[in-house]
């Protein structure tokens, strides 16, 4: 079970590094806790929704800021509000903080400041997306591994009857690492 421990440790290290760096906060942990057999991919689904939403809003804001006739700060403020809401729902702390900073500039109708904030926001968003995608890959990998092991163990008729106790141990380890157990039929 040594390498499963290693995998678990890697997962914990990586996700705690996300917390340490302030990329995600407690709300993200709460979201992770919402995953179970009925919604095994909850966090991934919410995250992809968030990415779509965020990209759309950032694009809109970029277009709005480039308007030569006059920047529509009201639209920008609406976009920021939306983004702040969704980033706090998902627990993306740094994105949310970037939004807060952005809002003060848009409130002051400062175009230069807004452009800078938009850049900062894009940067934070890319960072978050990268990190979360890596996290998902690790969790998916561990789940696939689990599935393979179960298939191997349960499908092996020539071996002695495989103690299910071990399979449950593995399940517990994966759950403890923050993953969830897919149903294998």
């Amino acid at each position: 079970m040594d390498f499963v421990n290693q995998l678990q440790r890697k997962f914990i290290d990586y996700s705690s590094s996300l917390h340490r760096e302030g990329i995600v906060d407690d709300q993200f942990t709460q979201l992770r806790k919402l995953e179970d057999e009925n919604s095994p991919h909850f966090v991934m689904e919410v995250a992809s929704l968030f990415f779509e939403d965020c990209e759309k809003l950032i694009n809109n804001m970029a277009i709005a800021l480039e308007q030569k006739q006059g920047v529509d700060f009201k639209q920008i403020e609406e976009c920021i509000h939306q983004l702040k809401g969704s980033s706090s729902s998902i627990g993306a702390m740094r994105v949310k903080n970037a939004c807060i900073a952005f809002r003060s500039f848009s409130g002051a109708q400062n175009r230069e400041g807004c452009l800078r904030c938009l850049q900062q926001l894009s940067h934070e968003y890319s960072l978050l997306k990268n990190k979360l995608q890596t996290l998902f890959r690790v969790s998916v990998a561990s789940r696939c591994l689990y599935v393979c092991l179960v298939i191997f163990c349960r499908g092996n008729e020539h071996a002695e009857p495989f103690p299910d106790v071990l399979v449950f141990q593995l399940e517990k380890q994966i759950v403890a690492a923050g993953g969830s157990i897919p149903r294998v039929h």
Partner: protein
């Protein structure tokens, strides 16, 4: 026309001879008045001479009726001029030669250019080949890794089943081989990355001491089995958090300590970390000791073979022996105390350079192999791999990593005595702001319940005692060191009698070796204390420190009054804390705040089976809110605007509650709520004013509880919410306590059995 007595012919001949040099010139003068008949006036008729070169010139004697010509010619044919020929020939030859040289040069240039182009092409191809090779290596290694991990996993599972001893042996061998292969592949990949220059160092704040603790715990079992003592010491001046790459630092330490563990059969492995600036005073101090001829402490040196190192065995580099170490510790102590009141001068600089040394008392490195040590794939001996394992790539990677950290690695090694590897590394200082943030989510939090406790450490070996002291200081304890049990006992007794319980130590930690060797003083401390004076005062607890302990020794210790728990080496602050908690009964404070499990159960009891409508224009928020509510057992439906909510809440509906976002485009939460209430009041009027139907009477008033979801709970205007007909508000994203309070107003808790 001259006639006369002159012999004109010989005169002319003479003159001509003078004029012509050596050549004889024949002159004929003809009268050419009659062009067909030339009358010869002068010269021999028969002599022709060299008719090739003829010079004819007219003569005018002044006679108008006659014409005369003179024909001159050489008497003999001119010989062929050899000079002219030779010169011409030579000139031609020279021209040929020059032409040839120029041609040769041009050809050479063309050739060189061609070669150059060819070389460039080859260079490009070679570089591409190199890159391809690295990529190939990386890809193949990566591909190998995946099934390899599968194999290891299977083997691990296999070993957990019931196997006969031969089967177990086979499986274990396979596992060892597999692990070795994985390690090799990882190292090769690392090298490939380093070569490709792709190795990047990250810069994040991390805690040095906890990384060292981790690495030590990795090797503690192996070293304990070998009987080798493992210890770590970090100087006080090293800041708690530094900026750098924790993973790579861990890799370096793991490699060095792993090597030491591999090659050491007895003695100790000692890891020391301190600031690089402190080395200078230490070197001077060392010279001093040698001059004075030995230290003047009361250190017990029982035999001439005892060295003042961690375990008593000699170490390769004297810098870690007690003589110089004590100066380091004392120096730092005094500086530290002095600097508490002064602003730290070092804080202004951006970087902090640390010096880490790993000392072991193993077999050392043979002198011939010492200069090859950092070369990849080089091992000291061809049999090293067979006897000790490993591939020889670790140190070269370590060297690269150290250099990437802006440091330098070196070592001192004496065969059969031991080796000491030292390296420096530059880290950034942690700024205060990030410091406080990261401190919150530290993976290993040392309990603070031991602050201020007094302890005495009894250990005959001063270096080891200093290490134990360092770990205890991390827990905030006040530590004194005694070199023998007797000294500690006398210290206790003295304090006890004179100052009462104020200076009484709370615990005494005794190193097993010191206790066993000082057998006469092995009478329990407790007995000694009681004998001193009649006062009854609290006996300090006694704990044994040991690298390994047999059952017999443990029994003896218990009989002598030591507590049941022994602190196993290598000493780690967290282990010590756990031990002390057990012995002293100081428990960890319970986490403040609700336990998650209880909270969610309560909410589950409230929300189970309820139909809830979530209204928010943002898809992410909807999903998250729905997910959270579903976790508590509610049946959730979503709407993305006020209008959609209105449609869904048309009377009659089956919703038990509605969570409504306030800020939405088109129709905001307040407006939507107002309209819903209007709808409801209309429906209620109909019910009350209309038929007295039993069913509708039972239904009563239509009033669906509507809660506002707002991100800004503090400034949410409760009045505004109430004015438009809402029943309360909850935070967005949900906070359990807040949610519970809001929801408890309308829902009754279902009994647990129904959940």
């Amino acid at each position: 026309y001259l006639g006369g007595a002159f012999d004109v012919e010989s005169l002319v001949e003479n003159l001509l001879g003078q004029l012509a040099g050596n050549q004889a010139i024949l002159v004929n003068v003809y009268d050419v008045t009659n062009s067909s008949d030339h009358l010869i006036m002068y010269g021999h008729q028969n002599q022709d001479g060299d008719l090739a070169l003829l010079h004819e010139s007219k003569l005018d004697f002044g006679d108008p009726f006659r014409k005369h010509t003179m024909i001159c010619r050489y008497h003999q044919k001119a010989p062929t001029s050899w000079t002219a020929l030779t010169t011409a020939f030579l000139f031609f030859v020279i021209c040929l030669l020059v032409g040839y040289i120029l041609y040769g040069a041009a050809i050479h240039i063309v050739k060189v250019e061609d070669d150059f182009h060819e070389m460039q092409e080859l260079k490009v191809r070679a570089e591409a080949a190199d890159v391809a090779k690295s990529q190939f290596l990386a890809t193949v290694s990566h591909e190998i890794r995946t099934p390899m991990n599968g194999i290891l996993g299977m083997l691990a599972l296999l070993l957990d089943t019931d196997l006969s001893s031969t089967q177990r042996d086979y499986a274990q061998t396979a596992q060892v081989c597999g692990k070795a292969l994985i390690t090799l592949i990882n190292e090769v990949l690392d090298r490939a990355k380093i070569e490709a220059g792709k190795l990047e160092m990250e810069t994040v704040p991390f805690d040095l001491r906890s990384i060292l603790d981790d690495v030590l715990s990795l090797f503690s079992e192996k070293s304990r089995n070998k009987g080798v003592e493992l210890a770590v010491f970090v100087s006080d001046k090293v800041p708690e958090m530094v900026m750098g790459d924790p993973g790579r630092f861990r890799q370096i330490i793991t490699n060095l300590v792993g090597n030491s563990v591999k090659f050491t059969e007895r003695g100790h492995i000692f890891v020391k970390v301190h600031l690089a600036e402190n080395l200078k005073p230490m070197a001077e101090a060392k010279a001093e000791t040698f001059l004075n001829g030995g230290s003047d402490e009361g250190v017990l040196v029982s035999s001439a073979h005892q060295f003042k190192t961690l375990s008593g065995y000699e170490a390769a580099d004297e810098r870690n022996s007690w003589d110089s170490f004590k100066y380091l510790v004392a120096d730092e102590e005094s500086q530290y105390n002095a600097l508490i009141n002064m602003p730290l001068a070092g804080e202004t600089s951006q970087n902090v350079t640390l010096m880490v040394s790993v000392e072991d008392t193993g077999i050392g490195i043979p002198l011939i192999a010492q200069d090859r040590v950092f070369m990849p794939f080089m091992q000291a001996d061809s049999s090293t791999s067979r006897n000790y394992g490993g591939t020889g790539i670790g140190l070269s990677i370590t060297k690269c990593l150290v250099e990437l950290m802006g440091g330098h690695i070196s070592f001192v090694s004496r065969p059969q005595v031991g080796s000491t590897f030292s390296f420096t590394a530059a880290f950034g200082r942690c700024k205060k702001a990030s410091f406080s943030d990261t401190k919150k989510s530290n993976t290993e939090d040392l309990p603070s319940s031991f602050q201020g406790l007094k302890a005495i450490v009894v250990d005959g070996k001063p270096v080891r005692a200093a290490v134990t002291r360092y770990h205890l200081k991390r827990l905030g304890m006040l530590v004194e060191v005694g070199s023998s049990v007797k000294m500690a006992a006398s210290a206790c007794g003295k304090n006890g009698s004179s100052c009462g319980t104020k200076n009484q130590p709370d615990i005494i930690l005794v190193e097993k070796d010191s206790w066993l060797s000082g057998e006469d003083g092995g009478l329990s401390l407790g007995m000694l204390d009681r004998k001193q004076n009649g006062h009854v005062f609290k006996l300090p607890k006694m704990i044994l420190l040991a690298t390994n302990i047999t059952n017999a020794e443990l029994e003896k210790a218990k009989a002598a009054g030591f507590s049941d728990t022994t602190i196993m080496k290598p000493v780690r602050a967290s282990m010590v804390a756990a031990c002390l908690q057990q012995v002293l009964g100081i428990g960890k404070k319970r986490q403040a705040g609700k336990d998650m499990l209880n909270g969610s159960l309560v909410l589950r009891s409230l929300l189970y089976g309820k139909k809830i409508l979530v209204v928010d224009d943002n898809m992410v928020n909807r999903r998250v809110a729905a997910g959270a509510l579903k976790k508590f057992g509610a049946a959730v439906e979503c709407a993305d605007s006020g209008k959609a909510a209105l449609k869904l809440l048309q009377i009659p509906h089956y919703f038990d509650a509605c969570f409504m976002d306030i800020q939405m485009p088109e129709m905001d939460g307040f407006e939507a709520t107002r309209r819903i209430r209007k709808m409801e009041s209309q429906a209620n009027e109909q019910i009350n004013g209309g038929s007295i139907d039993e069913e509708s009477a039972r239904k009563g008033k239509w009033h669906v509880p509507i809660l506002a979801m707002t991100a800004d709970v503090i400034h949410a205007t409760y009045d505004e919410c109430l004015k438009c007909g809402m029943d309360g508000y909850v935070s967005k994203p949900f906070e359990e306590e807040n949610l519970y309070q809001a929801v408890a107003k309308f829902f009754k808790a279902k009994p647990m059995s129904e959940l």
